[in-house]
């Protein structure tokens, strides 16, 4: 189905990584066994450094972005994937901490194309440029 018009890059501090991964299981976006592995890219100040943050990137529909903004504004009452927060070893407080701790960078593919003039058409090859640019803006690189 078409409509995946956005490239989303999310960064979470290391301390929140486990809860953030569980949160994405609760969203139904990660069907891996708990705690999930949505945030899989370690970011550090140096190549060999210990991760201070973790990153993920994916394509999303406008509806996903709308839901995310609503959750940030109003909180999220129940796990969209069903069950209770307990089922994901989460609490409302942990979910709130994750929502507050996630840094989100959203670009349409048209904007991503503008990052590199070599990209001449709608091409998710720009996705890698997207997350690398976001990490670089925070002076972070892929860590050990």
């Amino acid at each position: 189905m078409s409509g995946y018009d956005y490239s989303i890059t999310l960064i979470i501090p290391d301390a929140l990584r486990d809860d953030a991964n569980r949160f994405f299981c609760a969203l139904g976006d990660d069907l891996a066994p708990l705690p999930g592995r949505t945030f899989s890219i370690p970011l550090a100040a140096t190549k060999d450094g210990e991760p201070t943050h973790w990153l993920c990137r994916f394509n999303a529909r406008p509806s996903w972005l709308k839901s995310w903004k609503e959750w940030q504004a109003d909180g999220i009452k129940e796990p969209p994937a069903g069950g209770e927060w307990d089922d994901y070893e989460l609490t409302k407080a942990k979910v709130a901490a994750v929502m507050a701790g996630v840094e989100i960078d959203t670009r349409t593919f048209k904007e991503s194309m503008a990052i590199d003039e070599r990209i001449t058409r709608l091409d998710p090859g720009s996705e890698a440029l997207h997350w690398k640019a976001v990490a670089q803006a925070k002076s972070l690189t892929v860590g050990a």
């Binding site: 078409s2 994405f24 990660d30 899989s40 890219i41 091409d123 998710p124």
Partner: protein, 542 residues
């Protein structure tokens, strides 16, 4: 293609026919065009659960059906799916079975399930389900596979879904308002070595086309195939935007990252991939490569300059092809942890400057070819953790400045060649745990400034040459010779040589292991060093 070859394979779907010709299992993902159907079935789905077919660029790809054996649809698993009798189904409120259908009359007060009495599904397996909705008047109905729903249906018509079960239950679920009938339920396994990704953020994206391909963002995008018991030993062919590469492979049963670890890939786009449990003939490899190139995977390996991380972690590869990597300057981590490679081809890496960690962890390499690495400056960790290397060639590393950890853990090397390392400045940990070395050659390490732990744990090293450090400005020999087996003469050689350099305020440890204490000659050198503020410790405690 010659006429004879075309006859042999029958033309047409050549890649699939290779599996027939060899009578071999494996996987084949070569139809990325979302409009393609095999036996009427779409091959790509947005999530690992199936359900929604991929049909446009930027769609994530979470499930791809293997067509190496065609789309193989198994026997009917739904018992009484035609509802010919009022049996085999547990009926929730509102459901009734009669007149060859199951009907919901709308009296339910919430979701109401029609549950197969014998749960026919196996979690993790892939199925095709079909159902006909008739006499519809209100609400929604869905099929539930384990715990996941097919999506809501609110009209008369046929439903056909591909899904990956996450449980054993098979349920038809009416919502609060559904009024209508269902009939002709069929559920059949689709066998094969399908590729999937359960994590939403790690799915490649469809792009194109034509040509169509999957883009990986190298932030975890990865499709996984579960290799069946017995594993696959044969040929792996991968077509990316760098070209088509053909590898020998031995993939153990279990998860195989079809996109090689999610972060590392020779390229950023995947046009096709196949693995076959047979070693293809040279001719058939050529046919397969040609077929893959026809999908858009034009060979540009020869123009790629950055091969960093390209094959990192490809632990199933048993042989590496003679690719054109002649333009490559960065080979950092390129073959890191390719732990099943027993040999390495004579690639043209002559333009390479960075070989950091290039062959690190290639733990099965028994020999290394005489590659032209003469432009290389960084050999940090290059052959670290290659414990099966029994010999090392006389490579031209004369431009190398950085050798930390370079041969760390090459524990089967019994001798070391007279390499030109004269430009090297950092030799820390360079020969750490080369535990089979018995003698060390008189290398020109005069530019070296750091020898910390350089020969640490060389537990068989008895003979070390004289005059090695006579002109060296290095002062860091921390634990450099700890754990060795140096003779008294060798210990003296080291001490006298470092003392001769005239440096001050350094650290030198020749301790541990079975090394001998220095002789009076060595002790004199120790005195000289200590007079210049060196910290020196040796066996025997002088």
């Amino acid at each position: 293609m010659s006429r004879r070859r075309r006859r042999l394979l029958g033309g047409g779907d050549l890649l699939a026919k290779l599996f027939v010709k060899y009578g071999a299992a494996g996987f084949l993902f070569d139809k990325i065009d979302p409009a393609f159907r095999q036996s009427g079935i779409a091959l790509q789905y947005e999530t690992s659960a199936g359900i929604t077919a991929v049909d446009a660029a930027t769609d994530p790809v979470g499930l791809v059906l293997d067509r190496s054996q065609g789309v193989v649809i198994g026997a009917e698993l739904a018992v009484n799916g035609g509802f010919d009798a009022d049996s085999n189904w547990g009926k929730g409120t509102g459901w009734a079975i009669g007149s060859g259908t199951a009907s919901s009359d709308g009296t339910q007060v919430g979701d109401s399930d029609l549950t197969a009495s014998i749960a026919p599904l196996v979690s993790g397996k892939f199925y095709q389900a079909e159902l006909t909705v008739s006499a519809y008047s209100a609400g929604n109905v869905a099929i539930v596979f384990g715990t996941q729903e097919s999506g809501d249906y609110s009209a008369n018509g046929s439903i056909s879904k591909i899904f990956r079960a996450n449980g054993t239950a098979l349920i038809i679920r009416a919502d609060l308002n559904f009024v209508g009938s269902v009939d002709a339920l069929t559920v059949r396994e689709i066998s094969g070595n399908h590729a999937y990704q359960v994590t939403g953020a790690s799915r490649p994206a469809l792009t194109g086309g034509p040509p169509w391909y999957w883009t990986v963002d190298k932030a975890g995008d990865d499709l996984v195939v579960t290799i069946p018991s017995g594993g696959i030993t044969g040929t792996y062919i991968q077509a990316t935007d760098w070209g088509v590469a053909t590898y020998s492979v031995a993939a153990s049963a279990g998860a195989f990252s079809q996109v090689q670890g999610g972060v590392y890939l020779p390229g950023t786009k995947i046009y096709a991939a196949m693995m076959i449990d047979a070693e293809l003939s040279t001719a058939d490899k050529a046919l397969a490569v040609a077929a893959f190139e026809a999908l858009g995977a034009v060979d540009v390996f020869g123009s790629v300059t950055n091969f960093g991380y390209a094959w990192r972690g490809c632990s199933s590869l048993t042989a590496f092809p003679l690719l054109d990597v002649s333009a490559g300057t960065n080979f950092g981590y390129a073959w890191y942890a390719c732990s099943s490679l027993t040999a390495f081809p004579l690639l043209d890496v002559s333009a390479g400057t960075n070989f950091s960690d290039a062959w690190r962890g290639c733990s099965s390499l028994t020999a290394f070819p005489l590659l032209d690495v003469s432009a290389g400056t960084n050999f940090s960790d290059a052959w670290r953790g290659c414990p099966s290397l029994t010999a090392f060639p006389l490579l031209d590393v004369s431009a190398g400045t950085n050798f930390p950890n370079a041969w760390f853990g090459c524990s089967s090397l019994t001798a070391f060649p007279l390499l030109d390392v004269s430009a090297g400045t950092n030799f820390s940990v360079a020969w750490y745990a080369c535990s089979s070395l018995t003698a060390f050659p008189l290398l020109d390490v005069s530019a070296g400034t750091n020898f910390s732990h350089a020969w640490f744990g060389c537990s068989s090293l008895t003979t070390f040459p004289a005059s090695m450090f006579n002109t060296s400005t290095a002062t860091d020999f921390t634990l450099a010779f700890d754990g060795c087996a140096l003779s008294a003469t060798s210990v003296d050689n080291i001490l006298v040589s470092i003392a001769a350099a005239g440096t001050s305020s350094g650290t030198l440890n020749i301790t541990g292991g079975t090394s001998s204490a220095p002789s009076a000659t060595g002790n004199t050198a120790i005195d000289a060093l200590r007079s210049r503020s060196w910290t020196v410790t040796v066996v025997g405690g002088y």
